[in-house]
């Protein structure tokens, strides 16, 4: 190695060390925050320990190979970049605008659904995606991260959408990608075979005739699997949160029309499938919710693929739905009861939290029903009432935690 190259190695290594040191210093400051629950602090410690280990790997002997130095520094840069975002998420999880009362009941729901101990970070995001890492982070494999939009992070009525995000974890933990892969491939082949015109149109878009059919099948199968995962997550949210999932969905996505991609069913289509599933589960649906959904157009070049994907997804949804509902039932999880929801609603009508045991889905559904019965509580003179409703919902959630913690067999 020449002198210049050795100097470049030293420069890169010292830069990487300073970046890690700054990152660790930031963690140290964050650790001084007031954490509402242990999970945030636990996440910080785990990240810190890993970065301390990374820092140690930068102590390379003089004359270390240039490609080893570059590769190590590249990895450090990626890790710092990826986990800086997570640090921001953890910091925002300490903001007192967050409804901390939800942590226990959501964690209980996840633990029951996934049959394993998980850590949960409930936070907020400035750029609302929504942000979710369904137990997919290398350093935090047992963490579920759920972020609400920052301005609405104090609103418990939007939390049913967390059901969708938990669904992504369930999709992995239940082993769905493996279970359904051959089913998806078979369905795509069958759908293509049954539509020779669409298949021919897709073949024309490819120049490598010999491989074209295989490429088309793989591409369609990938999109079908992604759409099935999204629908699986919607169905998970519907099953666990009941009609409040539909209300929250409408609140954030209505009237639809967001950009259409092949990896997502359209908002309108998702809502139609949810409505049908709700009927099967005996969940009553406000007919107003189904009104005036729109869909953005699909790009011309993708219409043929979209046709195949939509048909294949339609064909597989019943199986996915049946499997999911059966699995959740076997874990002693049930959709919100209409009877309990009405009791909670009656308590809210008396300006009281609910004093008996209720699931999160039942409490939040009652909150939405109260809102609907009172013209949406959106006018200036109703603001106070809307805030009180949020407090009644969260106090009812706290009562559910209180009852769970104080059960004789707890």
């Amino acid at each position: 190695m020449d002198d210049h190259s050795e100097a470049a190695s030293q420069l890169r290594l010292s830069s990487a060390k300073r970046r890690i040191d700054a990152f660790l210093e930031q963690i140290g400051e964050l650790a001084e925050s007031s954490f509402p629950h242990d999970d945030g602090l636990f996440a910080l410690r785990t990240i810190r320990d890993n970065f301390v280990d990374l820092r140690g790997r930068l102590e390379l002997p003089p004359g270390a190979r240039a490609d080893l130095v570059d590769q190590t520094c590249l990895h450090i840069g990626d890790q710092v970049s990826d986990y800086t975002e997570i640090l921001g998420f953890i910091l925002r999880s300490t903001n007192v605008r967050n409804p901390f009362e939800l942590h226990y009941v959501i964690k209980r729901l996840i633990t029951k659904a996934l049959d394993q101990d998980v850590s949960l970070l409930l936070s907020s995001e400035w750029a609302f995606v929504p942000f979710t890492y369904p137990m997919s982070m290398e350093l935090l494999p047992d963490f579920v991260l759920i972020g609400n939009a920052a301005p609405e992070s104090n609103d418990p009525l939007v939390i049913p959408l967390a059901g969708h995000e938990i669904g992504h974890s369930a999709w992995r933990v239940f082993g769905c990608p493996v279970s359904y892969s051959s089913l998806v491939s078979d369905m795509v082949v069958e759908t293509l075979d049954a539509r020779p015109g669409v298949c021919a149109e897709l073949m024309r878009q490819h120049t490598m005739d010999a491989l074209a059919l295989g490429v088309i099948r793989d591409r369609c199968s990938g999109h079908v699997m992604r759409q099935l995962e999204e629908m699986f997550c919607d169905l998970f949210g519907l099953y666990t949160f009941g009609q409040s999932y539909l209300f929250a969905y409408d609140y954030l996505l209505g009237p639809g029309g967001s950009s259409t991609t092949l990896n997502y069913p359209t908002d309108k289509r998702r809502f139609e499938l949810l409505n049908a599933a709700a009927a099967e589960l005996g969940i009553s649906v406000d007919p107003v919710l189904a009104q005036r959904w729109t869909t953005a157009g699909m790009r011309r070049s993708e219409r043929s693929v979209s046709t195949i994907v939509d048909i294949a997804v339609d064909g597989l949804i019943p199986r996915i739905k049946e499997d999911l509902f059966h699995t959740l039932k076997s874990k002693d999880l049930f959709p919100p009861s209409a009877e309990v929801t009405n009791s909670v609603l009656k308590s809210f009508g008396h300006n009281e939290p609910y004093c008996d045991d209720a699931t999160l889905g039942e409490i939040i559904s009652a909150g939405w029903l109260y809102l609907r019965q009172n013209d949406g509580l959106a006018e200036a003179e109703q603001r106070r009432r809307y805030k009180v409703l949020g407090d009644l919902v969260l106090k009812s959630v706290e009562v559910a935690e209180y009852l769970d913690r104080t059960r004789p067999d707890a």
Binding site: S34, P36, H37, V96, F100, E101, K346, H350, N351, E352, P353, Y354, C355, R384, R385, K387, V388, D391, L392, L394, K395, E398, V399, Y402, L403, R405
Partner: protein, 220 residues
Amino acid sequence: MLNADEVCDAMLLNDDHPDRLAIVPRPDLAGIRERAGTSVDLRLGRWFRSFKQSKSSHVALWRDYGSPDAIAKKSGPLRTNEHFVRFGSEFILHPGRFVLGATMEWLRLPRTLSGYVTGKSSLGRHGLVIETAAGIHPGFSGCLTLELANVGEVPLAISPGMEICQIFLHRTAISTVEDPGTFSGQRKPAAGFPKVDPTFDLLRGGGPNKHKSPDAVPLK
């Protein structure tokens, strides 16, 4: 003052009965009857509100229309910090310090009951003073804000879920005004801010239409 049986009976009235007393989570009624006292113990909630150190020389305890500082007009949450303490954890109240807490229980009093809240002697003997504005009006709804002060000489640890105060209830002649508890209340401790007081404004020489109190006019 209601005795133990009367308190329990008021809680067990039908949901729609106008004289029903609601305390949520519901206290142990058998325990109340067994003790045969006249009070109901309430537990400490998880939210606290402490006051920030600030560059302001003082806080005016009235609605100050003349203040150039918009925050001072509200004189409320913005000069305080909120804290959430989970079950199993503690809030340390140092000697001479003051913090607002709230009961874990949400109360709703019918129009026929009023009450007052006091500390528990077992805690007071260690220097923990609880509640100085003790009245609970008929129709009140929400969690009670507690004023917690350590007047003792050693730091005191308080923990959510512990019994922190007690309420006594009285029968009250029914007011003809609308039920003040209709959809009101909150789960967090409230610092509150002064209400509009036209008489005081006139006496002070300021008021909403003048925008400047005489004291606020700079001397040249």
